[in-house]
Amino acid sequence: MIPNSATAAATIRRGQVITAVGLVGLVIVIVLAQMFTPVEARQGLAQKIFYVHAPSAWAGLMAFSMVGITGGLYLWLRDPRLDLFAEASAEVGLAFGTIVLTTGPIWGKPIWGTWWTWDARLTLTLFLFFLFVGYMALRGAINDPSERARFSAVVGILGLLLVPFVHLSVYMFRTLHPMPVLLKPSAPSMDPRMLRTLLISIGVFTVLYIGLVTTRYGLGLMQEAKGVADGD
C-alpha cells in the first residue's frame, strides 16, 4: 500500500481533534480532582497526583502492549501500516512512561520518604521504559524499512513476554507499592467520588493516547508519502 499525503493529512487532523478533546478532558480531570474530590485522610494533598499518575501508567501500559500486539500482527500480515502504528505507539508510550516515572517519585518522597525504591511496579515501569528506549534506538539504527519492521516486531513481542517475568521476579523480592484499589476481587475500596475522578481520568488518558497515536501515525504516513513522492 502506498499512502498518499491526503489520507495522511486527514489522519493527522483527526488525531489532533481527538488530542484536543483529550486535553479539554484533562483540564476537567484536574478541576474535578482539586475541587470536587475529597482529600485523602492519611496522605493529604499529595494523593491528588494519583489522578494523573495511575491513568498515565494505564495509558503507557496500553501503548506498550499495542507495540507487542501490532508487532505480532505485522509478522503475520506484513502490512507496513501495522509497523507505523507500532512505532507511533512506542513513542507515545515513552511519553506516558516519562509522566509515570516523574509523578511517581514526586508522590513517593512525601509519602514513602524516598524518591525511589525497588518496588515491583516501579521496577517494571522502569524496565519497560528502558526496553522501549532500546526499541526506538534499534529503529533508528536500521535503514531498510522491512528489516526495521521485522526486527522491531521481534523486540516488541519478546518485550511483551518479559513483562510477567519482571513483575514476578521483583514480586519475589518484596513490594512496598500501595495495593490495588480498583481491580481486585472485592469491591473497590475507595470513596465513590475519588473513584469517579479516577475512572474519568482513565477515560481521558485513553482518549489522549488515541489522539496522540493517531497524530503520530498520520505523521508516519505523511513521511512515507513524501518519501515515495521524493523517490527514495
Binding site: L75, L131, L138, F151, L162
Partner: protein, 226 residues
C-alpha cells in the same frame, strides 16, 4: 526433527572449531572476565565491605558482561564475506540455524563461566564446599534463558549500525529476571543454605528458559525472511 538437531550440532561444531583455531573471542572474553573480577575487588571499601558480601553480585555481573561480549561474534563471523547468505541459501531449516547458533553461544558462555568460577573462588576467597553442584545447576538454568534472547538479538544487532552498542541496550532488560534469581540463589548457597529452600527461584528460572527459548525459536525465522 532429528535432522534439524543434527544440522544444528554441525553448525555449532563449525563455530566452535573456527573459534578454537583463532581463539581471539574466547580469550578476550576470559581475560575480560578476569579483569572485571579484579576491578570489583578494588571497587569496594575493604574496611567496610567484606568480599563475601559482594561475591554473588560480582560473580553474576561478571558472567553477564562477559557473556554479552561473546554474542555478536556468532553472526559477525557469518557477516564477513557474506557467509550468512550461503547458510540461508542452503536447505538447512531456519530452526537449525537458530539452534546451532544458540548451542555455539551456550558453549562459549559456559566456557567463559567455567574459567571465571575458579578465578572468582580464588580472588574472593569463597569456600564453595558442597554447594558446587547446586551452583552449577543455577548457572546453567540462568544462562540458558538469556543466551536464547542474546542469540536472536545478536542476529539483528549485527545488521544494524552500532551493533556493539545495540546488543547490550536491547539485551540487558531481558537479563535482569534471570540474574535476579541467580544472585538470590547464589547468595543462599554460598551461605551454606540447601538448594531445596530455593525451589521457587529454580522453578522461575526453568519457566523463563522454556518460555524464551520457545518464543525465540519461533521469532528467529522472521529476522531472515526477505
Amino acid at each position: 526433527m532429528t535432522e534439524t538437531i543434527r544440522l544444528a550440532i554441525e553448525l555449532a561444531a563449525k563455530d566452535l572449531r573456527v573459534e578454537l583455531r583463532s581463539r581471539t573471542a574466547l580469550l578476550s572474553a576470559v581475560i575480560f572476565a578476569a579483569i572485571v573480577l579484579v576491578i570489583f575487588n578494588f571497587a569496594r571499601d575493604p574496611a567496610s565491605v567484606s568480599p563475601r558480601t559482594l561475591a554473588p553480585s560480582v560473580l553474576w555481573v561478571t558472567f553477564t558482561f562477559a557473556a554479552m561480549l561473546t554474542f555478536n561474534r556468532g553472526f559477525m563471523l557469518e557477516k564477513e564475506n557474506a557467509a550468512i547468505d550461503g547458510l540461508l541459501l542452503s536447505p538447512m531449516p531456519r530452526a537449525a540455524l537458530f539452534l546451532g547458533k544458540y548451542l555455539a553461544n551456550l558453549g562459549f558462555v559456559f566456557t567463559v563461566e567455567a574459567v571465571t568460577l575458579p578465578l572468582f573462588v580464588l580472588f574472593f576467597n569463597v569456600g564453595l564446599g558442597g554447594a558446587l553442584p547446586a551452583l552449577l545447576l543455577v548457572t546453567v538454568l540462568a544462562t540458558a534463558g538469556f543466551v536464547a534472547v542474546g542469540t536472536v538479538f545478536s542476529a539483528m544487532a549485527v545488521r544494524t549500525r552500532f551493533a556493539d552498542l545495540m546488543l547490550p541496550v536491547l539485551l540487558l532488560p531481558f537479563m535482569v529476571p534471570p540474574i535476579m534469581g541467580a544472585v538470590q540463589v547464589t547468595t543462599r548457597l554460598l551461605a551454606g543454605r540447601p538448594l531445596s529452600e530455593q525451589l521457587g527461584w529454580i522453578r522461575f528460572l526453568g519457566v523463563f528458559d522454556l518460555a524464551f527459548l520457545t518464543l525465540c525459536a519461533m521469532l528467529f525465522p522472521a529476522i531472515f525472511d526477505e
